[in-house]
Every structure is written in structure tokens, then in C-alpha cells.
Symmetry: C2
Subunit: 334 residues, 2 copies
């Protein structure tokens, strides 16, 4: 499970940043599974479901509540807040570019976006629905969803399977291409400032890109240990090791404190940082990562350069139209 | 305060529905106050603020949480839910066409949309901010808002006054014209079905339009008593009289159980009904209103006709683009 250095990073380390092949531009299309080919109708339905608070027990929490598509794809909170103001244990990861994760959730417990979409809806501390039968029954009680599911999947198609497929199809459209970094790598040498280029060289040189590799800087789904180094001061301050990560799912001691590598794209928009949202600023997040992963102390200038580079990973967000959610029927009780 | 019959209704009562002057088409533009002329920049900023959950103490509740612009302008809940899962005492009124209300809130305690917008933000059970100074400080900490306020109002313009003006300017764009009713009144006699026309005649004949008068069927801001008749059975079932309405604000006994007349536009989308959201279906709401306001028992057919007509008051909802909310700064703690 533990991949030491990717070829990409090795190249970046030996060459300069002008070694174009070492840096990847974000694709503008996400791969889609054979059993969930996209369609306009599916994406539109998925957008509706994604933004519909009626997928929660109280009718107040939608997917977008914690993974806000009007913001950086999450909620800018340390821990997300579900129904009845309950707190989750981790900081919501961004939905933007999540189509490029090989696994989903901080602990990678879902293999696909489809599988991921099913989880929070029935999590007691997130959207709080008792089970998917109740979700399906509620969707069936809303006339407009009967029509929208029919358009996307055919007649009488409302089910957990189709609902999560539609949500995943929508999420595959949430891609933010053309960041200054992408433009730079694509050949526009003025797209990054001198400081940002220094930062780019520094993240390769330090080895950040050992884990944060690939087009989405997310290690293409590999798990990594965090923290690598148990720093007493930082641990006392941020409690990184309280949460056992992958081991909570696998129940194996060797998986303790392993995590899916999160993307660095749009990271300037997604404070606070790390799995428990304990680090408020990007400066501090960079310093913490250098210390507990690489055992490096960064100078003020090095930190500033890296943060400048990370700001260059903010992409272009597609303009979206708001979905019109079908009305709760005034004919029947919900 | 109590207006017995408007000219509009009197005309409707003596004539048939073909007396066109008795029925008003919804204007496509809302009146705006002299001190808050609209602009593209103001509306765009208002749309951002309206949808930004960071205007609440927890960062989880926006204006749109209870007045959802993707739905019928409210939350389809009996009582709205604010920060920390606290319940409000009343059912959220729709934001659509609220620009045509002469007063705002169920008890009319705000004279303007601007004044209304300031309220929920610092209500402990709604958005829970301690005071507007804190709201302004938070907005100032977000770089993108500095820019957006400057575009709309000029340099260093972030304040309670400008924020509420922007929200009100946005809300004045939330108009739903061209309902089947509007088309019918405008001359398209095929826009309503025979049943809907029967329902239209019935609401005039019964006197529903005594209070639900004018283009928005909201009595143009007049207050009315509800319930007029104390029906023991319905009171025991729905507890209408528990809430004293306007008297809670005015502290005058003669204002007890007076309420702003709510709009009937898009009513098919805004279940459940009445100030306390106690009535789940439109059929039942129609029967209840006939009984406690007019002392009439409706036949099944009469109810069905009226409900059919009310469904004809669903307008066209403008397609909106989602606002892109400026990022919480990762430079400073929020």
C-alpha cells in the first residue's frame, strides 16, 4: 500500500520544473464507469438530488450542505455538521475534482463516487435517513422526481442504485481546469509568478509530490501514513493521531494512521486543513506537513513560496445553473 | 387595520371571472425604494450573501436554508430549523414575490425587504450571529467580499446597511410571472381548464379574495384576523390560536391573532400550510380556511375546483446561475 516515490516525482526531483512531463495538466473530462455512462438527463437529475435537503431526515441537510458547490466544494468548517447539529469526526473533503480520486472518503472506504454517494444519506450524524427504502419512498412521493428519473433511467426507475448513479454522474462534471499551474504546464510561462515557480520547485525538491502526485496531486488513490513523525508539540496541539484512519475500516493494526492522499487542487479555498480540520491556515498546514511527514523546518520564505504555488492550483469553476427542485406534494403528507 | 372588502373583490363578486379588471396579472418588475435602486452588481452581491451559510454562527445556515430558491422559496417544513437545530415558531414564508408584500414576516414587523433581511441573521434560533458587527467583521475577512461590495457600493462599503440592501435588491428579482392564471387573465382563455375556472369563480364567490386580493393575492399588506371563528375541533387539531401574531409585536390586545395575509402564488409548492405549518395538504388548507374564516363547509367538488385553481397560480421560475462564493481566507482564522 505504501508507495515510496512515483516516477513523476523522481523526474521532478532530478530535473527542473521545465521538465514538462513531470507535471500533469488536469483533464477536463473524468473517466466514467461502464455501468454508469453519463447523459444530460442523468447529470441534471444528479444535480437536483445533490442539492435537495429532503434527502435528509429533517429536510435541512443536502450533499451540498457539507460539499458546497458554491464554495470550494466543502463547508469551511473543521468538522461538518449534519442533522440535529451533530458533528462529524472529520473535515469534509472537496467534491470538486473528486472524480479523479481512485477511492473516496478520507479513509478510502468507498471505491467509487456511486458507492460514496450512498453513505452520508443514511449516516445518523450526517443526513440521518433511517434507510434507503425511506429515501426511495420519499423520492417517489414527489411527482417531479418520477418524471426526472424516468427521463434519466426509464419508467419506474427510482431506486438507491439510480439515485446514487445520478449523483455520481453530476459529480463527474465538477472539474476545475485551467488553473495558473495548468496554464504554466501547458506552455504559458507567464501563468505563474517567479515566487510560484520557486514554490513549485520546492514542493518537488522537498518530496511533497511523492504523495501528492499526478494531475490532481492526490497520489492517484494511494494511501499514506500521516503523521509519519510523532512530533509531541504538534500532536498536543492538533491531535492528529486521535483518529486511526484506514484502520477504523480494515481493523488492521498496520493500517493505523493511513489516509487517502487528499488533492491539493483549490486548496486555497478549503481552509481549515487536514483530516480533522485542526489547522486553520495554509501557511501552518504547509509547515505542519513539512515537519511531520518530511522532518523539515521551512524558512519563512520557503513557506511563502509554497503557499504562493498552492494558490496557483485554484482552477476555473464552471458556471452552473441552479436546479429547480420538484415540489413536495401538497396532496400527501411528507 | 381591518379592510372588509376591496373594490377588486366586490367586482369579482358581482361579475363573472370574465370581468378582466377584477383580476390582476403579476408585474414582472418589483417596485424599489428610492434609497436602494437596483444594479447588476448589487443583485449579484445580494445573491452571494443570500446563499452564504457563513452569515450564520455555525456557518451552516443561509437565508436560502429556510427560503430555498431552488424550491418554492421556503423549506417545506412546518417550522424552520436554524443553527444548532433550533426550531422557529412559524413556518417560513416564501421569498418568491415577497417584493410585492407591503410588510414582511408573518406579523408584518418589518416594513421593507431591507429591514427583514437584517432580522434572521442575528436571531438566536435562526442564523445565530451575536450582532451585525460580527457579521460585518466576518465579511471583511473574506477578500472576495471586499471586491464584491466595492463593485456594488464603492470603496470600504461593507456594513449592515449595504449587506441588507444587496440582499433586498436580489430578492426583488425573485418574481414568478406567467402562471396559467396570469395567461388566462392576460387573454389566453385556454390557459386555465374548465375546473380551474370554476375554482376561480368559487374563490371570488366565497370571498377568499376579500383578503387574498391584488396581483399577489396577499391583500397588499393588510392584516387580517385568523382564525375568525373559533372552531373547537380544528383548534384542538391545529392549535392556530396558540400564536398571537401581530399582538406579540404591538403588545396590544386588539391585535391578537392578526396576521399579514400571505400570498397564494405558488401555493402548490409550499406545503405545509398556515402560520404554524400545521396543515399538510392544500385540500385541507382550503377546507380549514373556508371553515374558520368564512364559516363555510365545502363540497368535495368545490374543494377540488379551488385546489385546481390554486395550482394555476404556479408561475415561471427564472433560471438562476449559482453564485460563486468567495473563499474563506486560509490566511486568517475565521
Amino acid at each position: 500500500m505504501f508507495k515510496l516515490r512515483s516516477l513523476v516525482t523522481a523526474l521532478a526531483l532530478v530535473g527542473s520544473v521545465s521538465v514538462a512531463s513531470a507535471w500533469e495538466v488536469l483533464p477536463t473530462q473524468a473517466p466514467e464507469p461502464a455501468d454508469n455512462k453519463s447523459s444530460v438527463e442523468k447529470v441534471e437529475l444528479g444535480k437536483m438530488l445533490y442539492h435537495d435537503p429532503r434527502l435528509s431526515s429533517t429536510g435541512t441537510v443536502s450533499c451540498a450542505s457539507c460539499h458546497n458547490t458554491m464554495l470550494g466544494g466543502e463547508d469551511n468548517r473543521a468538522n461538518s455538521m449534519g442533522v440535529q447539529a451533530q458533528l462529524g469526526g472529520r473535515s469534509a473533503p472537496t467534491v470538486w475534482n473528486s472524480a479523479f480520486n481512485k477511492v473516496q472518503f478520507w479513509d478510502g472506504r468507498a471505491a467509487t463516487l456511486e458507492e460514496q454517494a450512498a453513505g452520508p444519506v443514511t449516516s445518523p450524524v450526517e443526513m440521518g435517513m433511517k434507510n434507503w427504502d425511506d429515501v426511495v419512498a420519499r423520492l417517489k412521493s414527489i411527482d417531479g422526481y418520477q418524471t426526472a428519473f424516468e427521463k434519466a433511467f426509464g419508467k419506474d426507475a427510482i431506486s438507491k442504485d439510480t439515485a446514487t448513479k445520478a449523483i455520481a454522474a453530476y459529480e463527474r462534471t465538477l472539474i476545475t481546469p485551467n488553473s495558473p499551474y495548468d496554464k504554466f504546464v501547458g506552455g504559458d510561462k507567464s501563468a505563474l509568478s517567479a515566487q510560484q515557480i520557486r514554490g513549485m520547485e520546492k514542493v518537488a525538491e522537498l518530496g511533497c509530490t511523492s504523495c501528492h502526485s499526478g494531475a490532481a496531486f492526490n497520489g492517484a488513490g494511494t494511501f499514506q501514513k500521516f503523521p509519519m513523525i510523532n512530533d509531541g508539540y504538534l500532536e498536543a496541539k492538533y491531535h492528529f493521531s486521535k483518529d486511526k484512519g484506514v484502520a477504523d475500516v480494515s481493523k488492521k493494526a498496520e493500517d493505523e494512521h493511513f489516509w487517502k492522499v487528499p488533492t491539493l487542487r483549490n486548496i486555497a479555498l478549503t481552509a481549515p486543513y487536514l483530516h480533522n480540520g485542526s489547522v486553520a491556515t495554509l501557511d501552518e498546514a504547509v509547515n505542519v506537513m513539512a515537519k511531520v511527514q518530511l522532518n523539515k523546518e521551512l524558512s519563512k520564505d520557503e513557506t511563502a513560496d509554497i503557499v504562493a504555488f498552492l494558490n496557483g492550483l485554484t482552477g476555473e469553476f464552471p458556471k452552473q445553473t441552479m436546479p429547480t427542485l420538484p415540489a413536495t406534494s401538497g396532496k400527501t403528507v411528507n
